[in-house]
Amino acid sequence: MSTASYCPNTPEEVREMLAAMGAASIDDLFQPIPPGLRARSFDLPAGMSEFEMLRRFEHLAGKNAQHLAHFVGGGYYDHLIPAVVDHLSGRAEFYTAYTPYQPECSQGTLQALFEYQTAICRLTGMEVSNASLYDGGTALAEAAMMALRITGRNRLVIDGAVNPFHREVVRTYLANLDVELVEIGPKLGMEDDLRLRAAIDDATAAVLVQNPNFFGSVSDFRKLAADAHAAGALLVVSAYPVALGLIESPGAMGADVVVGDGQSLGNPLSFGGPSFGFIASRKEYIRNLPGRIIGETVDKKGQRGFVLTLQAREQHIKRHKATSNICSNQSLCALRGLIFLSSLGAQGFAELARLNYDKAEYAKKVLGSLSGVEVMNGGATFNEFTVCLPTIAEEVVTALLRKGVAAGVPLSPYYPEMERCMVVTVTEKRTREEIDTLARHLEGILCS
C-alpha cells in the first residue's frame, strides 16, 4: 500500500474477511448509502511520508517570527515547563487512553485526576473541583451558568476588569438565554470595588471578578464577598493560578466558585491551545458543578480505588437535563498541571510566584521611571501592570514588534478610552537584560 493510512490488512486478508461474510467487495458494504448521496468532490492532495510531512511543517513553523521576547499575556503566559512534564504526560498509557469509563483499567488516569482535583482545591481554597473544563473563558461561562442554576436568579454582574476575551465568551454563552448581564466599566488606577458592590441587588445570581484583573491589579474581595452573600448572590472569582503561589486564595477571600485557565501550569503557549480550565467550589454546590468529577471509593476487597462519580448530572445520562453539555474535557492538560505542581512542590511553587512578582516589580520600576510613562495601577499587582504612554500604545507595540519584542497588549481594542495604555507582562522567563532592552527600546521610540 503506497499511502500512509495506517491500515494493516493485506489484500489477501481483505479477501478472506470479505469471503467470511459472503461479500464480493468492500463496495458491497457501502450499499446502504443510496448512489445519489455519494460525495460530489473529494479534492485533497495525495499523501506523503512522515519525513516529507515534517519537512513541510518545519517550513510552515519557520514562517512564524522566531525568538520574540514575550511581554504579552492576555490570559496566556510564557512560563517555564520542567522536562518531566513532557516526558511523563507523554507516556502512551496516559496519552492514548480514552475517558476512564471502565475504572478498573483506568486507575492511572482516575487517581491522577483525583490528585489534580486536590491540587486545585488547595490552590484555590475551595472544597471540591471537577476534573477540568476547556479553558479559562469557558470555565467562567460555566461558572456563570452554575450560579444561575444555584440561585434560580437571572442577573449577573461582571467586572469590566475581567479578561475581555473571557467576558466575550460569557456573553456568547448567555446570548440566547433569558439573563441580564451587567458589565461594570473599570476605572484604571482605582482598585476599589465600590462600583461592583453597588451593582448587587436581590435579583443578582453572582458577581464575576478576576484576581489579578486584566490590568494586573490584585484586589482584596472580602467586602465584595460579604455584600454578595448578604444579597443572596455568589462570588465567582477567576484566578491566575501562578499568582496563587503568593496571593491569598479566593476561598479565603469568600469566593463561592473559583475558575481560571491552567495553561500557565505546565502547558505550552501552542498558539492558544490546548490548555485547561479549572473550576472549584464550596462542597454544597457539587451537584451543580459541570463536567466530570472523580471520587474515591473502595473495591470488593476494600482496597482504595477511584471512579467517575455523580454521573447522573452528566449529559450521557441526563441528556437535556444535564448540568452542562461538556463531554471530552482537557484531562491530559490537567495531568500536565498536576505533574508541574508536583515537580515544583509547595516551596518551588511559592518561589515561582515570587520570581514573577519580583521581575514584574523590577520592570514596573524601570518602565515607570521613563519620561512620559506612567504606571496606572493604584495598588498591588502580580506579574503584569498597565502603563500609559505619551502616544498611541498600538503604534508603540508595532514599532517594538519590528525589534523582536512583543512589548505588551494595547488596551484600545478592548477599552477604546485607553488608547495610550498597554498591559505589560513579566514572567520568570524574562531576564533582567530583556527587561532593560524593552525599556531602552521603549525610551528610544518615545524620544524619536
Binding site: 493510512s5 495506517y6 491500515c7 490488512n9 486478508e13 474477511m17 468492500i26 460525495a39 473529494f42 495525495a46 510531512m53 515534517l54 511543517f57 517570527a65 520574540l68 518531566v84 498509557e93 492514548t96 487512553a97 476512564p100 483499567c105 483506568s106 491522577a112 490528585e115 488547595r122 490552590l123 479553558d135 454563552y173 440566547n176 503561589g245 503568593l246 496571593i247 501552542s270 498558539f271 491551545g273 490546548p274 466530570r292 471520587g295 470488593k300 476487597k301 480505588g305 447522573a312 441528556r319 437535556h320 444535564a322 453539555n325 463531554c327 491530559l332 508536583s342 515537580s343 515544583l344 512542590g345 509547595a346 516551596q347 518551588g348 516589580e361 523590577y362 512583543a406 497588549v409 520568570e428
Partner: protein, 481 residues
C-alpha cells in the same frame, strides 16, 4: 497505590528554578498575601517520575490494548503527529491580535486556515471555524450559529429535534443554547421513525440534529428526505460528525443537505485523546451561516497572506479564548497531510470492513437487534446472556481480564444491554480474530458458569469498585482541602 500527597516529605524538593537576577521587591500588603504556601506535594524529581510512571501502568490505552469503543473511534495515532505539533509550541496566541501582528504568525495562521479548508472539502461545507475546543463545544457553537441565523431572519423557533439514538451531548448542547428538545423514537428498522418525525416538524423547529451513520452504526437511507422536510420548515440540519470516520470520501454531509457539522479531530483524524481530552471540535457551515461564525476569524488575503478579521457584524462572538486547540489541530493537519486523499478513503473502507467482519463473526452468539450491513460500528445486545444472569457490564469486565478495553456498554440507550463495538481501520485481522475468540468465550462462559463473572476483573490493580459509595460519600479531594 499511595497518593502523591501521601508520599510527600516536608522539605523535599524537585525541580529548581533559576536564581533571580533582579532585586527582591517589597512584600505585598498582608491582606493580599497568602498566609501558608498551598499544600502541594513535596517530592524529589525521581519521586515524581516513579509516581506518574506507576500511575500510567494502571491504564489501558490504544498503544497497549485493543480499544474497540463504539461511538468513540479509538484508532492508532501516528507518533510523528506529536513531533509535528511540537514545532508550534512556542508561539503566543496574542501576537496576531496585536496591530500588524499577523505577519509574525503566518505559520500558525496558515496552518489553521488550510486545515479549515481541508475540512470544508472533506465535509462539503463552505467554511469551517476551528475555534471550538471539543465535539460538544462544537455542537453548542453550531446551535448558536443556527440561533443567530433564525434571529437574523426574524424566525420564531423554540425546538430542536433529536432522535432517541443520539449522543447525549446533542440534547444537552441544544438546551445550553435555550432550545427545548423534541425526541423522535427509532423505528424497528433502526432509523429515526419518519412518520413520527413528520408529525413533530413544525415551523417552530430550529434544527434537526442527526448522526449519520447513527449510533447503531447504520446509515439512514432516508437522510435526504429528512433534510428536505426540515428545510421546508426553514429548520436547519445539524450533522454530528462523531461517526465521520465511516464515510470519508464516500458521502459529504454538505452534499446531502446538512447546513452545519462539527468534527471531532481526535476521532476521525487520529489525534490522541489524552484520557479524556484535549479534543478539538471544528464546525463547518454552509454559506448562509458564514456571517455568524465566531470571532476572531482567520482569513486568507488575495496576496496569499493570512490574517485575523475584525469581528464581523452578526458574529456570535468568541466561544473560547483564541483560535481553538491549536496543538490538536496541528496533529490533525499532519495526519491529513500524510494520509492524503486515497488514504482517507481507505480509512473508511477498512473501518467498515473491520466492523462488518466482527459483526458477522459474533452474531450467532450475541443478539443483533438491527441485523443489517453496518458502517464503522455494530451494536449487539447481551439479552441472551442476561437470561443466565450475565449482563453487558459482566462481559466488559471479562474482557478487561483478557487484556481488551471493553466496547461501549449500555449505549445507545435504546438497545437493552447494548454492547457497541467499533474496531477502527487500524486493527489487523489477527487482532480482530483474537478479540472475536474472546467474545465467543465470554458467551460460552455465560452459559456454562455464569457465576464466574461476579469476581471479574481479577487481573487489575483493583477489583470492581463501589460506585454507590463514591456518589454517597463524595470524597473528591484528599483530606485537608
Amino acid at each position: 497505590m499511595q497518593l502523591i500527597y501521601e508520599k510527600s516529605v516536608p522539605g523535599r524538593r524537585g525541580v529548581r528554578l533559576p536564581a533571580s537576577d533582579v532585586p527582591a521587591a517589597p512584600e505585598l500588603p498582608a491582606a493580599l498575601r497568602r498566609k501558608e504556601p498551598a499544600a502541594l506535594p513535596e517530592a524529589s524529581e525521581l519521586d515524581v517520575v516513579r509516581h506518574f510512571t506507576g500511575l500510567s501502568r494502571r491504564n489501558f490505552s490504544v498503544d497497549t490494548n485493543f480499544y474497540p469503543l463504539g461511538s468513540c473511534t479509538m484508532k492508532y495515532n501516528a507518533k510523528v503527529l506529536e513531533e509535528a505539533a511540537r514545532l508550534f509550541a512556542p508561539y503566543h496566541p496574542m501576537v496576531p491580535l496585536l496591530p500588524h501582528g499577523s505577519s509574525f504568525s503566518q505559520g500558525c495562521l496558515g496552518l489553521a486556515y488550510e486545515l479549515g479548508a481541508a475540512l470544508a472539502e472533506i465535509t462539503g461545507m463552505d467554511e469551517v471555524t476551528t475555534q471550538p475546543l471539543a465535539g460538544a463545544h462544537g455542537e453548542m457553537t453550531g446551535i448558536m450559529l443556527i440561533a443567530a441565523y433564525h434571529e437574523a431572519k426574524g424566525n420564531k423557533k423554540k425546538y430542536v429535534v433529536v432522535p432517541d439514538s443520539s449522543h447525549g451531548t446533542n440534547p444537552a448542547s441544544a438546551t445550553m443554547v435555550g432550545y427545548e428538545i423534541i425526541t423522535v423514537p427509532t423505528a424497528p428498522y433502526g432509523d429515526m421513525d419518519l412518520d413520527r418525525f413528520r408529525e413533530v416538524m413544525t415551523d417552530e423547529v430550529a434544527a434537526v440534529m442527526m448522526t449519520c451513520p447513527n449510533t447503531l452504526g447504520l446509515f439512514n437511507p432516508h437522510i435526504q428526505e429528512i433534510c428536505d422536510i426540515a428545510h421546508d420548515h426553514d429548520a436547519l440540519m445539524y450533522y454530528d460528525g462523531a461517526n465521520l470516520n465511516a464515510i470519508l470520501g464516500k458521502v459529504r454531509p454538505g452534499d446531502v443537505g446538512f447546513d452545519v457539522i462539527h468534527l471531532n479531530l481526535h476521532k476521525t483524524f487520529g489525534t490522541p485523546h489524552g484520557g479524556g481530552g484535549p479534543g478539538s471540535g471544528p464546525v463547518g457551515v454552509k454559506k448562509q451561516l458564514v456571517p455568524f461564525l465566531p470571532s476572531p476569524r482567520i482569513v486568507k488575503y488575495d496576496d496569499g497572506c493570512y490574517g485575523v478579521d475584525a469581528p464581523a457584524h452578526g458574529s456570535i462572538g468568541r466561544t473560547s479564548g483564541f483560535f481553538g486547540n491549536f496543538g490538536v489541530m496541528a496533529k490533525a493537519f499532519a495526519y491529513i497531510t500524510m494520509v492524503g486523499r486515497e488514504g482517507l478513503i481507505q480509512v473508511s473502507e477498512q473501518a467498515v470492513l473491520n466492523a462488518n467482519y466482527v459483526m458477522h463473526r459474533l452474531k450467532d452468539v450475541y443478539d443483533l437487534p438491527y441485523d443489517q450491513t453496518c458502517m464503522h460500528e455494530c451494536v449487539f445486545s447481551a439479552a441472551r446472556q442476561v437470561k443466565s444472569g450475565v449482563h453487558a457490564i459482566d462481559i466488559a469486565k471479562f474482557l478487561i481480564d483478557r487484556g481488551y478495553h471493553p466496547p461501549t456498554v449500555y449505549f445507545p440507550l435504546i438497545v437493552k444491554e447494548a454492547i457497541m463495538i467499533e474496531p477502527t481501520e487500524t486493527e489487523s485481522k489477527e487482532t480482530l480474530d483474537a478479540f472475536i475468540a474472546v467474545m465467543r468465550e465470554a458467551a460460552e462462559l455465560a452459559e456454562s458458569d455464569p457465576a464466574a463473572f461476579a469476581e471479574m476483573p481479577r487481573t487489575m490493580p483493583v477489583t470492581r469498585l463501589d460506585e454507590t459509595k463514591a456518589a454517597r460519600e463524595q470524597n473528591v479531594c484528599y483530606f485537608g482541602c
